[in-house]
């Protein structure tokens, strides 16, 4: 019975009990929920549960070779989140994280667009509380923007689903044509959640405003759910290669100048999504394997980096590069784990990033996409710069900040050590890791050319950073806000719209005044002349005048209308 339950569903239902449990028992209970949910994965591939509502079959639980790796990593991430958040005594965030993880896992197993839509919105409504948990005025406002944008994405998805249902009579989650209207609507819906260029503002706006536990959970699910959906519905769409290449490219520059280290990580997250989107755009078996492998590895090392920065935020109360530094002495374990995450994301051999990214780079090389290949290679050097060096360097080394603190709580350390171990294990045993990928694969990432090429690229990029820092060319980090695409709706639109509305209002007032004055003056003038000449008596005169005026307006309208009609 339990195994026929859609995975994740039990987590959402079970989350309702969390407020009534005492602290430690609550953590054990949440772990059990994750395990029960994971048990459903043993059921094998196929459609396992459907429900008929109003004549429509909702496919709640469908699994195949693509859903499995995402389901596995989502469960691992959910379990890590439970451990990482164990010090938090309040129940609110735990309910949010458990139901959010559950919704994302359930979304992966949806077999039709309407079921997906329900979970798609559920991920938005459950996760917004994590941003509110940031507990500042900024996070409160940011949460509102976040929910508005997530719901907009859901509306696009719903519109696409309805059009598809009317056209084809079914809304199964299969491959869609980008040239059709419903395809485009669904593409935009996925694109918003995957933080496409210019649609990415919400990501950098909201994630860094969430609580230290919240950001770790947020970084895992929403964007990777979108990646899963793209892999399922738009694999091989060439447009994705272009979009993905731009995505890997431009967040680098923002990450370099950003001061808030968690915000740097969101830019880096955006850049990593680009790699996956490019791979999905290529669409070959090797490339899809690369995208899935990268998503899998990425969730672990990105989660690890957010955990490290979350621990710093929890202990120090800030994540700003300009205020941090020299924490290595006080938080050595956090520092080492963060460095492992940084090495993994930079794709050093023997770490998870390398075995995942190599697949994508090889797929690009095989397809002969030279320009995109070099854009991604450039981005790889960029990843080293902003995630590999900047994050650990400014937090734990750089200058002495004078902050005295202590090591992160034990539960955080355990979560970070597990994530670090997984990053290393994946890097050391790639063939075991490759077995969970959707397509069979015979690939060896550790050949001489790959390893030496990658090591040269990374050490020399690191050396460049060292030179810049050593010779004091690197400018100091400043307390600042870096403008991003959310500037459009946070500053530009209000900046233009509010004065424009005021102008329209003033013009309307003026217009009314002019009309009123001219009407009353003509009335006085005509009635005076008519009365003097005794054409009409007074009463009838003014009534007739109104009729004449209306008639004149009509005449003018007809006269103007003729021009337009022609």
């Amino acid at each position: 019975m339990i195994s026929n339950f859609p995975p994740g569903f039990i987590m959402i239902i079970g989350a309702l009990l969390i407020p009534f449990l005492p602290h430690i028992i609550r953590q054990i209970y949440m772990m059990i929920l994750v395990l029960i949910s994971a048990y459903s994965l043993t059921l094998g591939f196929g459609i396992h549960s459907t429900i008929n509502v109003m004549g429509f079959d909702f496919i709640l639980f469908q699994s195949d070779s693509l859903t499995l790796p995402f389901a596995i990593i989502f469960h691992i991430a959910a379990a890590l989140n439970v451990i990482y958040g164990a010090h938090e005594k309040q129940w609110k965030q735990h309910v949010s994280i458990m139901s959010y993880s559950g919704a994302a896992i359930a979304a992966v197993h949806a077999g039709d667009l309407f079921t997906l839509f329900v979970w798609w919105e559920a991920t938005a409504f459950t996760s917004v509380f994590l941003i509110l948990a940031g507990n500042t005025y900024r996070s409160y406002r940011s949460a509102f923007r976040y929910i508005l944008i997530q719901v907009t994405s859901g509306m696009f998805l719903l519109a696409g689903a309805i059009i598809l249902l009317i056209n084809d009579g079914s809304a199964l989650l299969t491959k869609f044509d980008i040239n059709s209207l419903y395809g485009q609507l669904i593409f935009i819906a996925f694109g918003i959640k995957a933080a496409f260029p210019l649609l990415n503002g919400w990501l950098q706006d909201s994630y860094p405003e969430a609580s230290e536990i919240g950001t770790v959970a947020l970084s895992t699910f929403t964007t990777k759910l979108a990646i899963f959906c793209f892999a399922k519905c738009f694999a091989g769409t060439e447009l994705l290669i272009v979009i993905g290449a731009i995505m890997t490219f431009y967040p680098i520059f923002f990450a370099v100048i950003e001061n808030d280290l968690r915000r740097v990580l969101t830019y880096s997250l955006n850049n990593q999504l680009g790699f996956m989107i490019v791979a999905i755009g290529i669409g070959t078996e090797l490339a899809i394997n690369g995208a899935v492998a990268h998503a899998f590895a990425h969730i672990l090392y990105k989660g690890l980096l957010f955990m490290g920065m979350g621990a710093v935020l929890y202990r120090v109360g800030t994540c700003k590069a300009s205020e941090l530094g020299g924490l290595f002495r006080y938080m050595p374990i956090t520092a080492v784990c963060t460095i492992i995450g940084a090495i993994s994301i930079s794709a050093f051999p023997l770490f998870s990033g390398f075995v995942a990214k190599s697949l994508i780079m090889s797929a690009l090389g095989k397809e002969g996409l030279v320009l995109v290949y070099f854009m991604l290679l450039f981005a790889s050097a960029g990843v080293l710069h902003h995630s590999g060096i900047k994050i650990p360097f400014f937090a734990f080394f750089a200058h002495e900040s004078g902050i005295k603190t202590k090591e992160a709580p034990l539960n955080m350390i355990i979560a970070m050590i597990i994530a670090s171990a997984l990053c290393i294990l994946i890097g050391i045993f790639p063939s075991t890791f490759y077995q969970i990928l959707p397509y069979e694969i015979n690939y060896q990432p550790y050949d001489f050319s790959h390893v030496v090429g990658q090591l040269q690229l990374l050490t020399f990029a690191a050396f460049a950073f060292i030179c810049l820092w050593h010779f004091k060319i690197y400018p100091p980090e400043l307390n600042s806000t870096v403008l991003n695409s959310d500037w459009v709706y946070r500053k530009m639109i209000p900046g233009v719209l509010i004065p424009l509305l005021k102008l329209v209002e003033r013009m309307n007032q003026k217009f009314e005044e002019v009309i009123m004055i001219s009407f009353s003056r003509t009335k006085i003038f005509l009635s005076n002349t008519m009365l003097k000449n005794k054409v009409f008596d007074r009463e009838v005169g003014s009534d007739t005048l109104i009729v004449i005026q209306i008639f004149t307006v009509f005449l003018i309208l007809i006269f103007i209308g003729q021009f337009f009609y022609k």
Binding site: V452, G453, A461, A464, T481
Partner: protein
Amino acid sequence: MKALIKKFGKINSSVLLLCIIFLVLELIGHRHGETSIEDFTFFPAFFGFLSCIIIFKIGVSLRSFLMKDEDYYDK
């Protein structure tokens, strides 16, 4: 050698040493890339170094018009 380590710091000098080791490795074995451009000797090294400098340069030049006060949105 000692003077270099003293002047440049232990970690920095070891990164430099690693750079040299990986260059030498290429000379010993035969490295080939995914694309023919990559086959040039020491290509990844040049590419990595230059990319990092370019990223830094563009990033710093963006500071002038993308960087605002911390309370820019709160005003």
